[in-house]
Structure formats: structure tokens, C-alpha cells
């Protein structure tokens, strides 16, 4: 939670924290060279050189600012894609679980087909059809995640459906839609919340992967995966340009995973919330 809180703050306050505009090319404005090594005044870099904590990237932009702004992109991608996937998946799964019968079969089989494709292929296919770009990449990622969430929701609904308070709801005269939304959903949603939180980390990785192969964020957006892709040939000559975005990805994903684990423990039904 701490990690994520920190990251969220960074994302929100990016314009304040980042010393430079992430898109601003510094040629001519400052005496810096392409891929210049980090110059941190506190660590000994001479004062007359402008400070660039993480160095300068291949297009002569401040790496640090780009990493900072990248936080915004990654976090919003994470939440939006997974948020959409959760909503769609939850609805589909809940309907499938509650209705049963052929409706359930129909929904689940369609989702099974989606699930069978390797993510990257599917994402590439979607993007190929829709064109590259961050929004399309996000749609691809959201679609990929729907089947998994629908499954989790469906099995959760199947269990909750048999609980006695659901029978009680029917007994007092509640109709099926009411029962589903008032009684079943609120109680079935917790495994999905955990799954979703863990999924955000994965979504960020998936975005980075897509950007890495050029399907996602397009230059000059400071998306970490794209940044990695741009500098992947410089691993040895300018390692800081690869290291920092990579580190940012790792820390973010770790943060979400930890949050998901913590949530799972907190929402554990044995604690009788």
C-alpha cells in the first residue's frame, strides 16, 4: 500500500516533481548530449552542469521526468483496463453463474475461446485491426482479461447462490434480478477484487510488452515499455536508460501484487467480515 500510495502521489504531482517537461527536447536549450550519463549534484557532478538525475535519453529529453510522467500513464492504464475488464467480466460471470443452463454454457464457451489464445498474439491481432496506439492497446488488454475475471466471478456466484440467505430472499418474494444484485453480487465480489488487483500489475506488464514491440504507446509518450524499447540497444553503453524504466515497472507491479495479497487476507471469509 505504501508503494502504491507513493506511486499515486508521484503520478498526481508529476508536474510538480518533474524538473522538466517530459516531451521537451533539450537540444539547444541545455548543453547536454544524447544519452548523457546521470548527473546528480549531490553525488559529485559539478555544479555547472544541469542536473539530470537519470540522465538524458536518446532524443535528448530528461529521463527522470519521463519516468515520472510514465507513472501517470502506467497507473491509469492499469486501472482503466482492469476496471473495464472487471466490470464486463463480473457481469458476464454473474449472469452465467446465476442463470445456469444454456446461457451459462454459451457465455463460458465464448470466453473459453478467448482464453485459449496466447495474449500477445491476440493483442497483436486486435491492434493490427484497430491500429497501434495506447487506447487500442488498452482495449486489447481489457479484452484479454475479461475471461479470467468472468470465470472467477461465475464460480463465486455459484457458491453464493446456494447460501441460505439467497433462499431467504426468494422466500420473502424477491425477484431474480433483485436477488442477483442485492444479495449475490455483493457477497460474490471479493475474490474478484483480489484477482483484479493482482491483474493490474499484469496489465501494466502487458502494456509495457505491447509498447516494447511497438504496438502500444507511440513516441513521444513516456511509457516505460516504450522507453525500454527505444533504448534496448544501449544496455551496455547507457545502462541507466534501461535500468530506471525497468525498475519503475518492477516496483509498480510489485506494489500491486502486494496489495492483492494483502486484500486477499483481509477479505478472507473466515474472518467473517
Amino acid at each position: 500500500m505504501i508503494i502504491l500510495g507513493f506511486l499515486t502521489l508521484v503520478a498526481i504531482f508529476a508536474p510538480v516533481i518533474a524538473p522538466y517537461d517530459p516531451l521537451q527536447v533539450l537540444i539547444g536549450i541545455e548543453p547536454v548530449k544524447k544519452r548523457q550519463a546521470p548527473c546528480i549534484h549531490l553525488l559529485g557532478c559539478p555544479r555547472d552542469q544541469p542536473q539530470h538525475v537519470m540522465g538524458i535519453d536518446g532524443n535528448v529529453r530528461d529521463e527522470f521526468s519521463r519516468v515520472i510522467y510514465g507513472t501517470r500513464i502506467s497507473l491509469s492504464i492499469g486501472f482503466i483496463t482492469i476496471g473495464a475488464a472487471v466490470i464486463v467480466g463480473a457481469l458476464l460471470g454473474a449472469i452465467a453463474g446465476y442463470a445456469g443452463g444454456w446461457i451459462s454454457n454459451a457465455i463460458m464457451r465464448v470466453l473459453d475461446v478467448l482464453l485459449a489464445f496466447p495474449f500477445l498474439l491476440l493483442a497483436i491481432a486486435i491492434v493490427a485491426v484497430l491500429g497501434p496506439g495506447l487506447t487500442n492497446a488498452m482495449m486489447a488488454i481489457a479484452t484479454i482479461n475479461v475471461p479470467a475475471f468472468a470465470r472467477v466471478m461465475r464460480s463465486s456466484v455459484l457458491t453464493v447462490k446456494e447460501e441460505e440467505y439467497v433462499v431467504a430472499a426468494r422466500a420473502i418474494g424477491a425477484g431474480p434480478i433483485e436477488t442477483l444484485f442485492l444479495h449475490v453480487l455483493p457477497n460474490a465480489i471479493s475474490p474478484l477484487i483480489v484477482q483484479g488487483t493482482l491483474g493490474i500489475g499484469t496489465a501494466i506488464l502487458e502494456t509495457a510488452a505491447l509498447s516494447f514491440i511497438g504496438m502500444g504507446a507511440q513516441p513521444p509518450d513516456p511509457e516505460w515499455g516504450a522507453m525500454l524499447a527505444a533504448e534496448r540497444n544501449q544496455v551496455f553503453s547507457a545502462p541507466y536508460l534501461v535500468f530506471f524504466p525497468g525498475l519503475a515497472i518492477m516496483v509498480t507491479v510489485l506494489g500491486f501484487n502486494l496489495l492483492g495479497d494483502g486484500l486477499r487476507d483481509a477479505l478472507d471469509p473466515r474472518l467473517r467480515l
Binding site: A168, A171, G173
Partner: protein, 327 residues
């Protein structure tokens, strides 16, 4: 019998649960005959007891009567209306008048709803009271079941078993029903709390003119609260009679064995008792024995018992027994 009105009439009610097998195409290979032909009447204002041991089908019977399970065969008439003719909205509207209290006070309340909302839900569904009146009514109901009205804002897990059961009772009363199925309402409670809940149920019956179907396996409690009792075995009624008559003059061998097995908290009495110990276990409801269901364990089994199923007959004074011995 008094000439009270018949509120609930059950005619040859059956509920079978199919057993399917097969991987791709599920075929029915058998059925659990949970309820296999129940016929009886419940009069307005009485407490009708349905007793039996586990697996006899009494819980299934209660729920099938309320149409929470769809009957496989047979008819249930409530206040003159055949419940099987009602569908969807109509059935839901009729539910106002017939309610149920569940056995498990922990499972029958939605853990994510406040007590006030749980109790108020019937009011909302059936549009019984306007929004502002609903809060008042919920408070009234909490009062009625002897709980502090302040509790309306709390969640079920903050309460003990006995209190939760009272919340369940309040919920059942919200729609002003005429008929309540009490499905083993006290078996999950501590002994000292059972008496509290039973007294409450009796008081409410007097106050509100309720009719109860009291399903239980605790024969001592059933004797205390019920006016007429039916004994079930493997999905069928084996004996039905007015309370005192049943407990003093049980005619069916199963009833006799059942009554003799109930322990009495009185050591000298217990020590002197001659129990009728039944041999063996209850047969499975999937494959009941042909003829009388009880023939495999009956100490008085005759040849005819293995072949022919005995029908429920009136042996005098509204005392019904299904046994070949009665001839």
C-alpha cells in the same frame, strides 16, 4: 377436530431430486425421493409439527410446500389457491402471506446487509409501507422480537445465534404473513436460548394469530409447542395425530421406537426405561425398500410389509397410521 378453516392443504406432494451421470450428456439415472406422497391439512391458528430424523424429508417438505422447490408431483393449496397455478409475479405476491424461518441463524442472513435492511426487505419488495414508514415498521418489528431497535444499523455478525434467529423471525413477520414454516428454528441454538426463542414464537402466535408448520427432530420440544404432529420416515408420513394422543398412544412401530429413544432428564426414570432399539440404519431415499419403507427395521415386520405399501388410515379420533398392523 374443531371446525377451523383449513389454511394449507397438501395433496400427495412429491419432490424427487434427479441424479445425473454422464460426461457430455447428462442423463438421469435415478432420483432421491426426498418427499414421496405427503397428504395432510394444516388448520388456521394451529402449530402443526412435522418430525422425523435426518433424511426423512421434512426440511424438503417444508420448502416444497412454500414452492421454494418446485414439486415433482402433487398439489399445495394455500387459502384455497392452488400454488402450482401461480407463476412469477403472482407467486411472489403470495409469498407475503407465507414465510419461513431457517435453521441456521448464521447462514440465513446476508452478511453484507444491515439488520434494518434485512428486516425491511419484505416491506420494500411488496411495497407495504412508504420509505419513512419503513424505518418505523422495522423498529416495531425489532421490538416485537424483543431486540433493541437501535440494532437496526448493525450487521449480523455482531450478534449471537439466538439474536440472529430473532432477526430472522422479524424478517418473516415483516410482511404480515398468515403462515410460517419454522424449519428447525432452534436446533442450532444453545439449550438456554432455545427456551427464549420458543416462548417468543408462542407469544407471537397468540398476538398475531399465526399458523405454524414446525419442523423439528427434537420430540420433547415438539410436544411442548405443537397441537398436532405428523411423523415422517423416508419421505412418507407414517403417523399423524393430535399431540397428546400421539405421545401417549403411539401406534406405528417407528413412532414407538422414536419416542422410546428420546432421553428424559431424570436419572432414575432413564435407568428404568426399556428402550426399543432399532437395528441397522435408515435406508437410502434413492432406493427405498418396496412395500413399507420401515420394513427393514421394523420389529413387527410381517410378510405383507415387504410387498405392499400401507396407506394412511384413520384408526379413530383423527389418528392416522400407515401400517399393516392396524388391520
Amino acid at each position: 377436530m374443531t371446525d377451523n378453516q383449513v389454511l394449507v392443504h397438501v395433496e400427495n406432494l412429491k419432490k424427487y431430486f434427479p441424479i445425473t451421470s454422464g460426461l457430455l450428456i447428462r442423463r438421469q439415472v435415478g432420483a432421491v425421493k426426498a418427499v414421496d406422497g405427503l397428504t395432510f391439512d394444516i388448520y388456521a391458528g394451529e402449530t402443526f409439527g412435522l418430525v422425523g430424523e435426518s433424511g426423512c424429508g421434512k426440511t424438503t417438505a417444508g420448502r416444497t410446500i412454500l414452492q421454494l422447490y418446485q414439486p415433482t408431483a402433487g398439489q399445495v393449496t394455500f387459502g384455497g389457491v392452488d400454488l402450482s397455478t401461480l407463476k412469477g409475479k403472482e407467486l411472489r405476491r403470495t409469498r407475503r402471506r407465507m414465510q419461513i424461518i431457517f435453521q441456521d441463524p448464521y447462514a440465513s442472513l446476508n452478511p453484507r446487509m444491515t439488520v434494518g435492511r434485512i428486516i425491511g426487505e419484505p416491506l420494500r419488495i411488496h411495497k407495504i409501507a412508504l420509505k419513512d414508514e419503513q424505518t418505523e415498521r422495522v423498529e416495531e418489528l425489532l421490538h416485537l422480537v424483543r431486540l433493541n431497535p437501535y440494532f437496526a444499523n448493525r450487521y449480523p455478525h455482531e450478534f449471537s445465534g439466538g439474536q440472529r434467529q430473532r432477526i430472522g423471525i422479524a424478517r418473516a413477520l415483516a410482511s404480515n404473513p398468515e403462515f410460517i414454516v419454522c424449519d428447525e428454528p432452534i436446533s442450532a441454538l444453545d439449550v438456554s436460548i432455545q427456551a427464549q426463542v420458543v416462548n417468543l414464537l408462542e407469544d407471537l402466535q397468540e398476538q398475531l394469530g399465526l399458523t405454524y408448520l414446525f419442523i423439528a427432530h427434537d420430540l420433547s420440544m415438539v410436544r411442548h409447542i405443537c397441537s398436532r404432529v405428523a411423523v415422517m420416515y423416508l419421505g412418507k408420513i407414517v403417523e399423524l395425530s393430535e399431540k397428546v394422543e400421539l405421545y401417549n398412544n403411539a401406534l406405528h412401530p417407528y413412532t414407538q421406537a422414536l419416542l422410546s429413544a428420546v432421553p428424559v432428564p431424570d436419572p432414575p426414570v432413564e435407568r428404568k426405561r426399556q428402550r426399543i432399539i432399532l437395528e441397522g440404519d435408515v435406508p437410502s431415499p434413492i432406493d427405498p425398500p418396496p412395500g413399507c419403507r420401515f420394513c427393514t427395521r421394523c420389529p413387527y415386520v410381517m410378510d405383507i410389509c415387504n410387498r405392499e405399501e400401507p396407506q394412511l388410515q384413520d384408526v379413530g379420533g383423527s389418528h392416522f397410521v400407515a401400517c399393516h398392523l392396524m388391520k
